[in-house]
């Protein structure tokens, strides 16, 4: 585990030096522009607009980082053959994978936390104060981070056995399908055979359920998120990531490097 930590810290350092965190500048500019615009065009719905826009931007920026950098985590090391010297040290392949995963999640956590802070500052600027109910914004940000961790795990898995381009397509595909898992589960039974119904239902439980992570509407209207949902999403992310990373390690541990 200590070795995975060494890899994780280096992955974080790589992200910082490759200027991944520069996206924060874009986010800051967007939030400043939004704050000025909201003051002029919205009457009484400042919070809704600012929170929706802020959370959407946090989610979208995080999504781009987790997909593109998530896929490159392993594929870049294989392509550039930086892995060769690393694996000559006493490092197990699963430790390397876990380290890369943890490193990018750490990067996303820092990035997301910085953006959340920016969002709160803009809320203070617009509303001139923060209320207790505004804490729901932090819950929404936490859910976004959980979602991003899941996406990183999927990107890592796909990049272990296919090309970077296909891995990006698979990851984005899983994310989009995962947004509609509930619909898949509730397809009208009368138009499908029992076998097909069972198949789609089974599939809906296998696919990552990203729907549960979306509490943007509740956050925008200051409605509290149930504690049970926070616990459920946390456990779900930990279990799902563990399964996906175990599968990735199984594939990667037998992979011939070029």
């Amino acid at each position: 585990m200590r070795r995975a930590g060494v890899v994780a810290l280096n992955t974080f350092r790589e992200a910082v030096r490759d200027r991944v965190l520069y996206n924060l500048v874009f986010f800051a500019l967007l939030m400043m522009a939004a704050a000025v615009a909201v003051g002029q065009i919205s009457i009484g719905i400042e919070q809704t607009v600012i929170v929706s826009l802020g959370l959407s931007a946090i989610s979208l920026i995080g999504l781009l980082i987790s997909v593109f950098i998530g896929v490159a985590l392993v594929s870049k090391e294989m392509d550039k053959r930086t892995l060769h010297a690393l694996l000559a040290n006493p490092v197990r392949r699963w430790e390397f994978l876990l380290g890369k995963f943890a490193g990018l999640v750490l990067t996303l956590a820092v990035n997301t936390a910085a953006m959340a802070l920016g969002l709160l500052l803009v809320m203070i600027y617009v509303k001139h104060s923060l209320e207790r109910s505004d804490a729901v914004v932090l819950v929404a940000v936490y859910f976004i981070l959980l979602k991003l961790a899941l996406i990183v795990a999927l990107a890592l898995l796909f990049s272990c056995f296919t090309t970077p381009l296909l891995a990006i397509l698979f990851t984005v595909g899983f994310y989009i399908v995962g947004l509609y898992v509930q619909e898949l589960r509730n397809l009208p039974v009368e138009v499908m055979s029992p076998a097909m119904t069972a198949f789609t239902k089974g599939l809906s439980y296998l696919l990552p359920n990203f729907e549960n992570f979306n509490v943007m509407a509740m956050a925008a209207h200051g409605r509290a998120v149930p504690g049970a949902l926070i616990l459920q999403n946390t456990v779900y992310t930990v279990v799902y990531c563990t399964i996906v990373l175990t599968a990735a390690a199984a594939v990667f541990s037998r992979r011939n490097l070029k």
């Binding site: 060494v6 790589e14 060769h84 694996l87 040290n89 011939n256 490097l257």
Partner: protein
């Protein structure tokens, strides 16, 4: 008798290819080889012969189709064994956002060294490979030769018992090559086992206690460079001076430079040849045994081997 540092038994690597991966190309075929503790072992062969494949198999970067290998008596699947191994990949490429000092510190962290020990070793290694003044420059600004030096430094950083170097002289200028040779000799003096692959045969002849010659994925010979060469060496070279002309038949076989001639004859024909040349009025300047170089032995093997071409194709794949 020294123990065995590396034992390779029947190591085979096939690469599937084609649309359904039904066809196979053999990159390494039933390799049996041992490297003894404390020796410098050269692994020589043309490009695509299977040298890097063997080394990658030993480092578990790729997995064998058949066969097994042990390093210091432990199976190569044992990750902890890597504490005792240093490895320099062919054409090494490292994290280019790190400086040389940061990279070495990063690798040292996998060997459970204390912070003080890491710092001391990193400084010592940078000095050893002549990079102390470039220690704070990011690796993306390094030349190929400098990267090779960093690679060497990371390979010996943790004081391993066995050092495996894949084409360590590749990309280095003459000064760099001499420095690498010095480091290899120093490692030998320290009692380390060094195995390195190369196709620069003079380096192998100069440094190695033993060499293994691999061509077309098959091992063609193992032994001390002199022993291997002697198997194929016969002949004497006569250097003589002859002014004017002569009808001696041997002259037609000699190479002429001004009044000097160079003639190569079989060992048993030496005295007859000298008598004939003296009778023709030649002055014998020197007689020397023709010792075939490792290069000639190696070239003969490559030319005799019809699989060389296919081996190159495998590497190109």
């Amino acid at each position: 008798m020294p123990g065995l540092a590396i034992e390779i038994e029947n190591l085979t690597k096939e690469y599937p290819f084609g649309f359904l991966h039904l066809k196979k190309k053999t990159s390494l075929e039933g390799l049996n080889m041992q490297v003894e503790t404390g020796e410098v072992f050269g692994f020589i062969g043309p490009n695509g012969a299977g040298k890097s494949t063997t080394i990658k198999l030993l480092m578990r970067l790729i997995f064998p189709t058949a066969g097994s290998a042990r390093i210091l008596g432990k199976p190569i699947s044992d990750v902890e064994m890597h504490r005792d191994i240093g490895y320099l990949p062919e054409q090494p490429y490292f994290y280019d956002y790190l400086t040389a000092a940061e990279l070495l510190d990063y690798f040292a962290r996998f060997h459970d060294l204390t912070a003080a020990d890491r710092k001391e070793r990193v400084e010592r290694m940078l000095k050893k490979v002549g990079l102390e003044t470039a220690r704070k420059i990011q690796l993306r600004k390094y030349s190929k030769g400098m990267l090779q030096r960093v690679g060497l430094a990371q390979a010996i950083l943790h004081d391993p018992k066995i050092v495996i170097l894949d084409e360590p002289m590749s990309g280095l200028d003459p000064v760099g090559r001499r420095e690498v040779r010095d480091i290899i000799l120093e490692l030998k003096r320290e009692g380390k086992t060094v195995m390195f692959s190369t196709h620069i045969l003079s380096d192998a002849e100069m440094l190695c206690d033993r060499v293994g010659v691999i061509v077309g994925g098959k091992l063609r010979g193992v032994g001390a460079p002199g022993t291997l060469v002697d198997m194929k060496t016969q002949g004497m070279e006569i250097l003589f001076e002859l002014r004017g002309t002569s009808n001696a038949p041997l002259l037609s076989k000699a190479t002429r430079t001004g009044d000097c001639y160079r003639l190569q004859v079989a060992e048993e024909e030496l005295y007859a040849a000298i008598d004939q040349l003296r009778a023709a009025g030649a002055r014998i300047l020197s007689v020397a045994q023709v010792k075939a170089t490792l290069e000639e032995f190696f070239t003969n093997l490559v030319e005799a081997d019809g699989t060389h071409t296919s081996a190159v194709e495998v590497s190109g794949k």
